[in-house]
Structures are given as structure tokens and as C-alpha cells.
């Protein structure tokens, strides 16, 4: 089932939780709504589920207007942030709840319900836990029960609110991969909310980045990372290095100390941004390595080495990541002066904050 969000907005009194927003989600697609808290992502998800009413706009499921349809009849699976399991029921009864509540409409017998629940228990790998109560399960197990409960009624749309937010880092990663497989197997349309960019980029076919009640950009993860629409998206997806200065004759002047060649950039104040892995470091200045900075911290973090540098001009510290091998070859220590060569830069539009690549 495809989902169309058509100019949906939501106000609470005088505060706008969601500005008129539109989204088209294709059948079988996995879309992540990514944003900081207060960005309106949960509100949008709850409006799609029917748990919240929009102030204006329409929600369509496969072209059918469901804006005024009660959530009971929308037939969406919803996984709540803290799972909202029925704590007085066993795992089995939790999963069977939707089937039993609709046994009449779905014309399901006791036998069929038991079979379907057992099948789901197999899929979530919790067959041995059928008779346990939610309180006797770990967070990750509870999360899988919540998923199975939502999937039991075979919804065509699955909505998840911060599905992995309350779990340990390692369990999160496992569950993400597991969910990805389950989605490939069952092919439901899925929208989930998260504030974790790694989660959004890893799980989603497309990510909608939201901020202050607006959808800033919706794109496939690779494109989103490569071509962020504006400064907010760029900042939210990772660490930002910023170069602020004055452009004269295709040269960026950063205070007294550093200059950077910028072909085809108009004169005037300019800000450029880059990622930590898009800067290389060298011991001596050259035509391309023109920006001097002093190493203030070195932190090896698993697969990368994070280097923090204090620029010679007036600016916040810069962050550079190297592979451990490059770091060993470069051989420098805290206090050394290095010269930076950013090989990919994005020019920030001062009004719209839109980004355009410079090379």
C-alpha cells in the first residue's frame, strides 16, 4: 500500500508542530523520518496512523482518502517507542491480541490463531518465551514482541516510533539488520521515526530529514549524504567543518593566516563546509595545502583516527578523520603544525542556506 501525505499540517494552540508537508511513499518502501526532538516527525507518524488528527491536509492509502478513518479501521501496524506491551499478558497473548480482537471479522478459529502466533514467534526467534510475561524479557526481546504483535494482523503499513531508541548500541545494530531482512521477506510499507542518523541511513530506502515542523529533504541515503539540500541537513548528518571568510579574486581569505583558492566563486563574504574525511593533512605547505592549524587532540576510535586541530585564524576547531594506516604514515603528534587540504567543499547560500559543491 502506498502512502500519500498531502499538505498535512498540525497546530497545537498557537504552536505549529507541523507546517504543511507532503510526502509520497511507494508501496513496499522503507522510509525513515529523521530529525531532532521537536521536529514534528512523531506528530507526522501519528497522523499517518490516525492517532492524531491533522489541522489541514489529507492522508491517502493507495489513493484512498483515509484522513477521517478511525485508527481502528486503518489497519496499520504501529510500534510504540516504549513498546506499550500489555504487561499482564504473556508473550503469546500479546501477539495474539489483534487476531483475537478481530477473530470475527477475519473469521479466524482458535487453531488458526495459535498457528499464526507460533509462526510469528519463530520469526522473532522467541518460541521458547511464549509463556513469559513482558517484564521477564530484555529490551530487545520486548521490541521484537511489539513488532510481532503489530505484524500479526498482517498490516500493509508498519509505522514505528523510535523503534530502537531505548536499546543498547549492539542490540540496536542487530535488530536493524533483522528488521531489514524481515522487511525484504514480508514487503510491507514501512515508515519509522528516529533521531539517529546512522539508523536512518542504514535502514531506509529513503530518508526524510525534518526540522522545526518541516521536511527539509527526502532522498536516498547515499544521495542525502552526498548532496544535502541545505546547511541543516548537512549538519544533522555528521560532523561539520566550517570555513568562514572573504572571497576576493577567487581566493578565500580566512583572517591573516590562511588563504584558499576558490575558482568561480563571486567576491564577498562566504561560508564553506566540509566533512572530516574530506580533508587531508600534510607537514609542509604546498599549492593545495594552504591552511595552517595546530593539532590539539588525537583520538583513535576503532576504524578511524579522529584529529582535532586549532586553526591559525579565528575559528572553531576543525575535525579530520584518517585511516589508522594514513595516520601512521603521516606521523604527527599533539602540538604539531599541519597544513590542511580540503578536497571537497560546499558553498553555503547566505539566505536559503542551500549548498552547492565547489571544486
Amino acid at each position: 500500500m502506498s502512502i500519500t501525505v498531502d499538505q498535512i499540517s498540525r497546530q497545537f494552540g498557537n504552536t505549529v508542530a507541523l507546517h504543511p508537508s507532503s510526502l509520497d511513499i511507494k508501496e513496499g518502501e522503507l522510509v525513515g523520518l529523521l530529525g531532532p526532538s521537536g521536529s514534528g516527525k512523531t506528530t507526522l507518524l501519528r497522523i499517518i496512523a490516525g492517532l492524531e488528527t491533522p489541522s489541514a491536509g489529507r492522508i491517502l492509502f493507495s489513493g484512498r482518502d483515509v484522513t477521517n478513518l478511525h485508527p481502528r479501521n486503518r489497519r496499520v501496524g504501529f510500534v510504540f517507542q516504549h513498546y506499550a506491551l500489555f504487561r499482564h499478558m504473556t508473550v503469546f497473548d500479546n501477539i495474539a491480541f489483534g487476531l483475537k480482537a478481530n477473530a470475527h471479522r477475519l473469521s479466524l478459529g482458535r487453531q488458526e490463531i495459535t498457528e499464526r502466533v507460533n509462526e510469528l514467534l519463530g520469526q522473532i526467534q522467541l518460541e521458547a518465551y511464549a509463556k513469559r510475561l513482558p517484564a521477564q524479557l530484555s529490551g530487545g526481546q520486548q521490541q521484537r514482541v511489539a513488532l510481532a504483535r503489530a505484524l500479526a494482523v498482517r498490516p500493509e503499513v508498519l509505522l514505528m516510533d523510535e523503534p530502537f531508541g531505548a536499546l543498547d548500541a549492539k542490540v540496536r545494530v542487530e535488530l536493524r539488520r533483522w528488521l531489514r531482512h524481515l522487511h525484504e521477506q514480508l514487503g510491507f510499507t514501512c515508515v519509522f521515526v528516529t533521531h539517529d542518523q546512522d539508523e536512518a541511513l542504514e535502514l531506509s530506502d529513503r530518508v526524510a530529514v525534518m526540522s522545526q515542523g518541516r521536511v527539509e529533504q527526502i532522498a536516498a541515503p547515499a544521495q542525502l549524504y552526498r548532496e544535502p539540500a541545505n546547511r541543516f541537513v548537512f549538519d544533522f548528518l555528521g560532523t561539520t567543518n566550517s570555513f568562514k571568510g572573504e572571497v576576493r579574486d577567487e581566493q578565500l581569505y580566512l583572517g591573516e593566516q590562511g588563504t584558499l583558492r576558490l575558482p568561480k566563486v563571486a567576491n564577498g563574504a562566504a561560508e564553506l563546509v566540509t566533512r572530516p574525511h574530506e580533508i587531508s593533512l600534510s607537514h609542509s605547505p604546498s599549492d593545495s595545502a594552504t591552511l595552517p592549524a595546530q593539532v590539539s587532540a588525537i583520538a583513535p576510535i576503532g576504524a578511524v583516527v579522529e584529529v582535532e586541530l586549532q586553526p591559525f585564524w579565528e575559528a572553531p576547531n576543525l575535525h579530520v578523520t584518517l585511516s589508522p594506516r594514513d595516520f601512521e604514515q603521516a606521523s604527527f603528534a599533539v602540538g604539531d603544525t599541519l597544513y590542511l587540504h580540503p578536497h571537497r567543499l560546499m558553498l553555503v547560500d547566505p539566505h536559503s542556506t542551500a549548498l552547492t559543491p565547489v571544486s
Partner: protein, 275 residues
Amino acid sequence: MSKPRRILPGFHLSLGIALVYVSIILLLPLGSLVGQLADLSWARYWSIITDPRNLASYRITVLSAALASLFNMLFGLLCAWVLVRYTFPGKRILDALMDLPFALPTAVAGITISTLYASQGAIGQWLGFKVAYSWLGIVVAMAFTSVPFVVRTVQPVLEELPASVDEAAITLGASNAYAFRRVILPFIWPALLTGTGLAFARSLGEYGAVIFVAGNMPYKTEVTSLMVVTRLQEFDYPAAAAIASVVLIASLLLLLVINIYQARFFRRIHGNQHV
């Protein structure tokens, strides 16, 4: 090995004060009650508590209290539901009103109820049957004085029930009635039962409000607490103590049963391995 040190301060002092208080206010009167009973032989004790007039009073008290607490179970749950689930103007006032039966002197309540429900009273004149000066009056008085027990025990538990649990049931396609029966009611059941049990225990001993509406006709509308007072007025302290002990034992047993049930329920909910 050194003795483990207690980090939270004030343990000895606060426990000491609590124990002294419990002894003076609770145990001493109970002790003197038992002391009075010591003057009685078993045969005499048995003949007092099985006196036909007393037996009739047990029946009236228990039946009225049961009816009153059943009514409060429903009405109290409704009030708690309204107070927790919805926002409306005057909610705070309604919330405060719930404690009125505790604050009001029970005699005042009794007199007010008897005036309202008398055959010429503001409510009584519209009713085709007798409420004041009948056993129904006893039920009304008991219900009035014990409703806060149900409201105040169910309310916090209902507040603790996350809205998402309710929403989960709805998104799974459950009807309102099904969601209430299978999700909400089991959640608040222990609290509802405790509140009802407390209301029942309180009703068993209710005196002030009841005697003004009951009419106090022997074998018909005499409650057990009235029988105790009657014996006291005759200066027959051992007999008063004997009847009181019946009420006391009944109430204690009831509270014990409720506590055991609740403990078992919570162990189940919170997982068997801890608590």
C-alpha cells in the same frame, strides 16, 4: 568483616517513632479489647456473638456493606476514569469533592441523607419506595462514606497506564469494549479490588452516618456497630468487646486476603525473579 553501613539517614529514629505510634494508637486499644474478652468464658462469648439479634445485625451489615461497596466499585471507577482520562472545566473541583465524605462529620452526612431520603424529603418524595429508615438507607449512608476509598486507589493506577497501551489496542483493531475488558480492566483490577475491599471494611464498621438513616429497628435495620454501642450504654463492656471482635476479625481477614492477592498479582506483573 565490618557491618554494612546504612547510607539513608534517620533509620533508628523514624522507625522508633513509627513503632511507638503504632503501639499507642493501634495496638493499645486492640490490646484492651482483647483484655475485656479475657473476662468472658468461651461459652458466654459464643452465646453473645450468636445472639439472634446480633446475628441479624451481621446479616444486615454485611449485605448492606456488600451492596454499598459494589455500587462504589462501579461509581468510583467511573469517577476515577472521568478524572484521569478527560479534561473539562471544573475538573479540579470535582477532584476535591471526592474527598468530601472523609472531611464531613459522618453524623452530618447521616442526618443530611435521612432528611433528603425521608418520605417527604427532597429526593424521597419522588421515590416509590422507602429509603430512609430502611436497610436501603444504610446502603446509601455506607456508599457515601466509603466512595473515596475506591476513587483514591484507582486514580493513581489509572494515571500510570500509558496512553500508548490504549492506543496499541486500538491500532490492533480492538473495539472500545474489548480494549477496556482485556487491557484496561486487568491493569486496574488489583487497585479496584483493594479500593472496594477497603470500602467494604470501612462500611462494616460505619456508625455515625448509618444510625441516623437506619431507623434502628431490632432484627431489621440494626447494624453491628450499633449493637456494640448499645452494649456500651448498658456498661456491658465484655459483651461490647465480643461483638466488636467479630467485626475486627472479619475486617482483618478481608484485608489479609486482599493483600495476598495483590502481592501475587504484582509478582506476576513485575516478573517472578525479582520483588
